[in-house]
């Protein structure tokens, strides 16, 4: 258990532009996106057509829920592109003087 927490702490403390940090963010986004899917927020993206998904909610609230799903969706797609290239960048920058980022 202790080892797990240490591993998790190392992951969490990884430099912002390191491959580890990107993987962590990818996992976080995936988790949030999955939760959004499970909660059915996908339905609320109907605000894009000017329709409210839930007549019991105000237009603003329904749109906000749709917007949250939209952002998570875009983030989940956009983030995928960064990981391999960040890995390359990290290899180039991984000199002894630079910070010792943890590679997964």
């Amino acid at each position: 258990m202790k080892r797990f927490f240490r591993f998790f702490r190392e992951l969490w403390k990884a430099p912002a532009f390191s491959p580890t940090a990107f993987v962590i963010r990818a996992i976080i986004i995936t988790v949030f996106f999955s939760i959004s899917e499970l909660l059915g927020l996908r339905e609320y993206t109907t605000f894009l057509s000017g329709t409210s998904a839930n007549v019991n909610l105000s237009w603003q609230t329904a749109s906000l829920l749709g917007l949250i799903h939209l952002f998570l969706y875009v983030a989940s797609r956009a983030h995928r592109c960064l990981e391999p290239l960040e890995r390359l960048k990290h290899s180039a920058a991984n000199s002894p003087s630079s910070s010792g980022a943890t590679c997964l």
Binding site: F17, R42, T45, F47, S49, G50, Y73, C81, L82
Partner: protein, 396 residues
């Protein structure tokens, strides 16, 4: 300290360079993950898989009253017109599907008749305002008694389309009567303008009515060609935006312009004009494609306004994404025009955007797009099956 700063600076530069490179590589490739064969969306013969799935969802809605009411309630909260237009697009779609695959006719005809009869019944019981936005009651119609070309034109075309699939004598007289009233109003106005809303005339509705006249000519042996050509001549002279050469969207009964060219209108207008004056319709399509159609990084979309005209964001345009100017309303209707004029590259690019950004949801063989609504999906369905009805109208 200096060395630490240099390292930080180097890392930051590398980070941003990697970010820029990743974006430059990823963005042009993104569409490849969503791009599917065009036959998935539209087929010259038969019915595409997407059309089958979209139709399955709509047929399910029309056989499950509770589900339908829930969908309609959502749309009517925003726009009562959509309830009506969703019916029209579905009827026109089912007719085209029946013409494409005659064996399915017996399945579609009862639904088509149910939609038409229910729509007419609602109109008779509650009046035209039930399918119009609330501002229709703000002032009286200029021409009395109050009638909306929006409703008369689409119902006439629904009835005509149904009769094209299989003759149904009960619709002949009401269809002829609606068209007679439209003709009467057109001829009484120097601009051949009929109101959809009080002192508000829409090119969209005139184009639908023109198509209904052509269908009636084919069915009943009448000849409305002079009337239609006269309308085209007036439109060429009075309703063209000088900068873009596109037809304007709306105007008052005296010809005073209200809205300039709009994507949510012109794409449907060119589709309907195809059966009236093909060269003019094609010319309008090409102009609209240039002014309002966009393909960026493999994704196609429609803007609501040309660069030379900025209108207000409204219920027709839907949400407009700032910067790109992507309009849900225009993009949806662009499918219809691209299908009509067989602009496959644009249609494929639009379909790629649809699969990426419209949140498709396929359950039990029924497809819907979460970012859309019932009328949007019905318009998409129409774009995936259109063709045979117009073909039969122009080439008996």
């Amino acid at each position: 300290m200096n060395s630490k700063f240099k390292t930080l600076f180097k890392n930051a530069c590398l980070g941003f360079a990697a970010f820029a490179l990743a974006t430059a590589i990823w963005m042009p490739c993104l569409h490849l993950f969503f791009r599917k064969p065009l036959s998935n969306l539209y087929q010259e013969k038969g019915i595409s898989p997407k059309a089958t799935q979209l139709a399955a969802r709509h047929l399910h809605l029309w056989t499950e009253p509770t589900l339908r009411q829930a969908e309609l309630k959502k749309m009517r909260t925003s726009n009562a017109e959509w309830d009506f237009m969703g019916r029209s697009f579905l009827v026109w779609s089912l007719v085209n599907m029946g013409l494409r695959d005659p064996e399915t006719k017996s399945r579609y005809l009862p639904v088509i008749d149910q939609i038409i009869e229910e729509t007419v019944k609602i109109e008779q019981q509650d009046g035209i305002y039930v399918f119009l936005m609330p501002y229709a009651k703000d002032q009286p119609y200029t021409v009395k008694p109050a009638r909306s070309l929006f409703i008369d034109g689409e119902i006439a075309l629904m009835m005509g389309a149904r009769r094209m699939l299989q003759e149904y004598p009960a619709y002949q007289q009401p269809m002829t009567e609606r068209l007679r009233l439209i003709e009467q109003r057109w001829l009484a106005n120097p601009l051949m303008a009929a109101e959809s809303y009080p002192d508000e005339c829409w090119t969209f509705d005139h184009a639908v009515a023109l198509a209904a006249f052509k269908v009636a000519d084919r069915l009943d042996g009448t000849d409305h060609s002079p009337l239609c050509q006269k309308w085209i001549a007036v439109a060429r002279e009075k309703l063209i935006d000088k900068t873009t050469g596109l037809l304007v969207s709306s105007y008052q009964t005296d010809g005073a312009p209200l809205d300039g060219p709009e994507g949510s209108t012109i794409w449907m207008v060119v589709h309907c004009l195809q059966v009236v004056d093909e060269p003019f319709a094609r010319n309008q399509y090409e102009r609209a494609r240039k002014e309002l159609g966009r393909v960026a990084l493999g994704f196609g979309y429609g803007t609501e306004w040309p660069a030379s005209w900025e209108g207000p964001r409204d219920i027709d345009s839907g949400v407009v994404i700032p910067g790109l100017g992507v309009s849900a309303g225009s993009s949806g209707m662009a499918f219809i025009a691209a299908s009509t004029f067989r602009d496959w590259d644009f249609l494929r690019a639009l379909a790629t955007t649809l699969d990426m950004a419209a949140f498709p949801s396929l359950k039990k063989g029924q497809l819907k797009y979460c970012a859309s609504n019932q009328v949007g999906d019905a318009a998409l369905l129409y774009a995936t099956v259109l063709g045979p009805l117009w073909e039969r109208t122009t080439h008996p």
